[in-house]
Amino acid sequence: MKTIRISRLARVEGACGVSATIDGQIVTDVKFFVNEGPRLFERLTIGKTPEEDLNLVPRICAICTLSHRYAALRALEKALAVKVPAKVTLLRELMHLGEMIESHSLHLYLLALPDYLGYSNAIAMASKYGFEVKVGLDMKQFGNHIMKTMSGRFIHGENPCIGGFGRYPTREELVFIKNRAIQFLPFALKTVQLMCELPYPDIPESETLFVCCHPQDGRFGFVGDEMTISNGDLVDVQEYKKVTNEFFVPHSYCMRSRYKGKPYSVGALARINNLGDRLEGEAGRYYKKYFNARWKKNPLFNNAAQALEMLYSFDRIPQVIDEALKMPDPAPIAWARDTGQGTGAVEAPRGILFHAYDIFEGHITYTDIVTPTAQNAEDIERYCYIAAQTLLQKGEEEKIRDRMDLVIRAFDPCISCSVHMVQIKKAPDGDWRNRLKKLASGRRLSFIGLGREDRSDDAAGRKLARLLRNRGVKDVWLEEDLTMNSAPGDRARPVVFLDAVDFGEKPGKICLLPLRQVLWNASLSHRLAGLVRVPLASERLLDAYLLGIQPASIAEGGRMSTEVSEAVAGILQALVN
């Protein structure tokens, strides 16, 4: 067994890792894990006042601090029926644009670019690419300057509060920001050229769903009360759970999300894919120049999408400031009520962020926060799996580690948000035995035999099921035993499918794979038509596995090969003893 393990991924914000286990020609397991300990913020807010919540929740994440504050403000103000004046909305947009610039320039120039130019860090890069590093740092500093002006500090500033701001920026401060933004435009254009023309490798590529906020005004933007999904669905943010429905995987403290049973991506790439045609001015021009079909399936283009958004942000800042300067500073606004519910969504730099609160008599009784990295975790794992499997099949195993690294970093994961890296394991001979043993420890398994008994080795799954039954093993099913209403066995029990599967391996090779991973692999899943006919609730999919045997032949009418017969006997022995 061989494991490629990146246990602490450098140059991302927080602590995460990825491991891939390789058994011969098959990637049997890819896990994206978050080592950050649990902090229980949602529980910490219970019983606190909305103001105390605002002091606390931005501390979830340093880099998206203002996005957390903004999402919380939108949710709390909805719950308390506080309507803020147009100037407040504009100034909040400005602070949010500052965070976008700060976060994107940090990620693009200091964290991502060293990969493509072959350096371990941006400082080392500075000797040859001094101009790029300087531009990156200057942009980031400018983003920080906006955040500091608007929020009071670089990180965790308290100035934006319910109803507005504690202190409004002066005309001089705003004019300074406007003028600096205009000066930065040529550098933002260069950034787009640089990031859009990087040689992004074509592994991994696979279609996914994209989810982002839907700005009501028909323009590009980072907030909205609805979300738009690339399949055409429009969902009200109050119903965010339809999209996020979080679940939990034991190997990470980060919750996971799926929409209609499928992993989806959020972030700059989602926004450009869903709303890019709304971009105006220079950003619109460059969008038309660079956008192509690969952006819809290759997560590495998130770097290009972030560059477009930086350009948009620099372009938008002078407009926002000109409008805001026409308006007087509003007086503080009192709450209209002290009991209510509210959900707020904003686009954090790395994707849509939800805050939902119930407030009763001025105290919080329920909090739910769904962060972008939690939503991206499934797709990060899926793209890493595709990268590892594809490279393995092409005989480029040595590239797996760096490629997974590149994929994770492209998602710009913000780990403290979701509550740090890559690990590649080589499976030992007969690894399926250990995995099966681990799976069955303390739990009973349900088995489902698939295949066709008249097609030589394809009979293996059904034959194995019958043999297990004969030996008195309970909860063994055949395909036809299952109807739409009778999910097999106890819901809390893992389901193991038994079938002949063409892994491209030696006949008789046995492999145990998590089912969801099988479904990610187009070349495996289309050979598993039987699976489609099995009624399995989506939550059980997470605890379902495929115990596959490589057939020698699945020709009609033939007998089972010696190798497969031996494999069946081996599994039987392992399961019965």
Binding site: R8, A10, R11, V12, E13, G14, A15, F33, N35, E36, G37, P38, R39, L40, F41, R43, L44, K48, T49, E52, N55, L56, R59, I60, C61, A62, I63, T65, L106, L110, P114, S120, N121, A122, I123, A124, A126, L137, D138, K140, N144, G152, R153, F154, I155, H156, G157, E158, N159, C161, G166, R167, F248, P250, H251, S252, Y253, I415, S416, H420
Partner: protein
């Protein structure tokens, strides 16, 4: 003869990574820091990190998993001087406000269900000094750039840092702000360590206590003062305990016990 550059490691345990980010935010000074010191490990900034002997380790975040603990003990063993950086490392941070481990465990179950953690076991969150000797403390949520740079410069020159012992009120007075307590706003300035240059009161907003308690602060007197001003007792205790983890929370729970 030129002195050898100090070997420094910057590490993140459980927290928001805000202190490491703030160090990255020292844009102009960052290149100088990389020249003045030999940065052996800084995961957020570079990938060729070396885990060897260190002259100075800067550690942010609380110990919240067995992995955190193992890492902290390893860093301690390799480091001549260890400085806790940020409120999570110095006092435990917001995640350490559930004082009772059983209460914390219940909340943990409510969020993550009964699922066994396969990777690393969570621990009741605690500041670094619950498990290892801490030489210096740099407070803040997040740390302040000026205070960090002045502290680092002193450490690079071989001097101990000078962290303010006085509360936020001093800095607030230097800025000639109007006292918020006199305006009926529940401000924690008198209790909280200075270092932020009274940023919140300077924005007409009350201090939330994110630097943790000032060494000189008189908790009981502040508590009585806030009650006298007519603020709700529970609210005062809750606010006081918000960021300071065990230190003020212990004090608050003692007060709660006495007054009930």
């Amino acid at each position: 003869m030129k002195k050898a550059r100090l070997k420094i490691g910057i590490y993140e345990l459980t927290g928001c990574a805000g202190d490491a980010l703030l160090i990255l935010d020292c844009e102009e000074e960052l290149i100088n820091i990389f020249q003045a010191a030999d940065i052996q490990s800084f995961l957020m900034a570079k990938s060729d990190n070396i885990d060897g002997e260190l002259d100075l380790a800067l550690v942010e975040g609380s110990v919240s998993t067995e992995k955190d603990l193992k890492e902290l003990l390893d860093i301690r063993k390799r480091s001549k001087v260890l400085m806790a950086v940020g409120i999570c490392a110095t006092l435990g941070g917001p995640q350490a406000t559930f004082l009772d481990p059983r209460e914390w465990e219940e909340h943990l179950k409510k969020v993550y269900g009964q699922t066994e953690m396969a990777r690393t076991r969570p621990l009741h969150p605690k500041p670094l000094d619950a498990y290892a000797k801490v030489d210096y403390y740099l407070p803040g949520c997040p740390i302040d750039k000026e205070q960090f740079l002045s502290t680092l410069i002193r450490l690079l020159a071989g001097h101990p840092p000078e962290i303010h012992r006085f509360p936020v009120c001093m800095e607030c007075k230097w800025k000639e702000n109007d006292c918020l307590l006199n305006q009926g706003i529940c401000c924690l300035g008198p209790l909280t360590a200075a270092g932020c240059r009274a940023v919140c009161p300077s924005h007409n907003l009350p201090c939330v206590g994110c630097w943790g308690p000032a060494e000189e602060a008189n908790y009981s007197a502040e508590y009585e003062l806030l009650l006298e001003k007519g603020f709700d007792r529970e609210m005062v205790l809750r606010k006081m305990a918000g960021f300071s983890g065990t230190r003020i929370a212990n004090f608050a729970s003692r007060l709660r016990g006495e007054k009930k």
